[in-house]
């Protein structure tokens, strides 16, 4: 069932020499891509990825990924927010220009809790979103997978595995037959033209 087609990424056609960028295998169900991912993981590839329209449960394990490190960024940002709020309020109301309002002391911890909490949350949220984008190296509007026309369905109902040619284990024929043994519905080679 695994059909096969070669295709150049660039539109120029077969004028010049081409260099492979990655192999892209397409699957029709989450289960297929899950088992294929286990297979690629066990084959020892490093520079490869699974592309799915939604996060597939357990895929991190099937790919052998480490736990996400976003949480650590959030922790650091959250503590920074909390501390910033504390220092800000202590400096402004308690030290630099204490105002006596309602007979309350300039520096008073209970009244500082709400703002400390809000700034903790605000900076943590920045940490979560921008930390996530940073680790993922997004925004990045170009990637070899986008050369494939079939890849448009990756955000619809198809599942893909891509193995980059930069992977040390990558061998055009061997990797391709390995991918074909995982029951894909299509395997595609994406290459770019080499200027000479």
């Amino acid at each position: 069932m695994a059909s096969e087609s070669k295709k150049t990424g660039t539109k120029a056609g077969d004028a010049g020499e081409t260099r492979p960028l990655l192999l892209l295998a397409e699957y029709e169900s989450a289960g297929d891509v899950y088992h294929a991912a286990e297979h690629v993981r066990d084959a020892g590839y490093e520079k490869w990825d699974v592309h799915t329209p939604f996060p597939v449960h357990g895929m991190d394990k099937a790919m052998g990924l480490k736990d996400s490190s976003v949480g650590w960024i959030v922790l650091v940002m959250g503590l920074t927010g909390c501390l910033t709020a504390f220092v800000l309020m202590w400096w402004t109301n308690g030290h630099d220009y204490p105002l006596v309002i309602g007979g309350k002391p300039g520096f008073s911890l209970p009244s500082m809790i709400p703002v400390m909490f809000e700034l903790t949350v605000l900076l943590s949220a920045f940490g979560a979103v921008f930390g996530m984008l940073g680790i993922n190296q997004l925004p990045k509007h170009w990637h070899p997978v986008f050369y494939s026309d079939r890849f448009d369905r990756c955000t619809d109902d198809r599942f893909f595995i891509s193995i980059e040619a930069a992977d040390p284990k990558f061998d055009l024929d061997e990797t391709k037959s390995m991918l074909e043994s995982t029951h894909p519905s299509h395997v595609e080679l994406i290459s770019e033209e080499v200027d000479e």
């Binding site: 989450a30 709400p114 809000e118």
Partner: protein, 479 residues
Amino acid sequence: MGWRKPMEQLDEQYLVSEGTSLADVTEIVSKVTEQKAPRLWWILFGISTAVTGILGLTIAYLLWTGIGIWGNNSPVAWAWDITNFVWWIGIGHAGTLISAVLYLFRQYWRTAINRFSEAMTIFAVICALMFPTIHAGRPWFLYFSLPIPNQMNMWPNFKSPLLWDVFAVSTYFTVSLLFWYVGLVPDFATLRDRATNKIRKWAYGFVALGWRGSNRHWSNYERAYLILAALSTPLVLSVHSVVSFDFATSVEPGWHTTIFPPYFVAGAVFSGFAMVMTLLIIARTVYGMHDLIRIRHLELMNKIMLTTGSLVGYAYAMEFFIAWYSGNPYERFVFINRAMGDYWWAYWSMITCNVISPQFFWFKKLRTNIPFMFVISIVINVGMWFERFVIIVTSLHHDYLPSAWGNFSPTVFDVLTYCGSLGLFFTAFLLFLRWFPMIAIAEVKMVMPQADPHLGHHGHDDHDEDEDAMTAEPAMAEE
């Protein structure tokens, strides 16, 4: 597969109609932004932009003349403007509750309505923020509330709940916007990949940030989403608590009560769910989303309204009881005055709309009747507006010394500003329906039976197993 039996016994249903494929979900949601807008959309959009225009003129006049054009005057210095502020911010809370709290509790049915309600949160908070801004009279001095070094060498008073409010509401707006946007990124990528013309491809491509569904990305994405949900949950509780501190920390009878924070939060969720319901029924009918937004979703929302409505009813009763039990004559007077004084009609409208009307949802027949729940959802929002009006105006108009008593009546500009804010809200919402994926495509797919990688181990050869899949896998809604 053993899960199927308990599901039947529990009378559980799937979250999307049986036989809906992944591609159907993409199609149903995306086509709304791709096809021409229905005529009804244009009619509603025309009305709401016209109303927004009136709002713009009203605000221009207000800034030119001063807030004396409103009915606010001593002793009722806070009136419709603050009522509207609290009302709008409360409406926003349901969005965060649905997107964050229900996420943490693994209530998968939320996927059909979370995008929607998060959008509602953003627009409601924009409307809410408008009111204190223009109430300040000279909005160009709003930077006074921020700790910016200035020539007067003065700092804001961080012991004031009004300043806490500035921090709480602006944090809330920012975090809600981030949460919403993060959820939208994969769906923008879907629209980008379906785009047939260049402008759509560029525009959606730009906001999709080059999303390519990579699992290495999903892994961090899901963690970030979980953390945002965990941050938003205490945040949403804190925001309305801080709003209630504006009242509760004063020494005004009727305001100075410890029940305010939880009571305000319950009321906020109550009114927000009602607003989501109103919008949801309209959009579901106009765009035919029956496969994704099912009666079951609406019924669950009605149950939440019944719960929060009863909580609010309990708070009203408890306020009265404590007013009597405190032995404080001013407190007692304010509450008797609420129910039987000049504004008795507002108080009893509030009781009818908020306490009595949700009680109909005890009956399954009424809970699943769409026209009925539509009417009730509007009634609840009217009631929740009256609640804020009652709290603010009745406490202020007769407090301690009878010589300082007064009455409040709104002017035409109060009405225009309030109605105008509704216009602004609906304009933003209609634009959202037109150009954004109104249902979280990726999240809905995630809870469908096809999303389970361990589904159907009957070999890799039969791929057209959609129907089989449907019966084999529980996309369990709860538990």
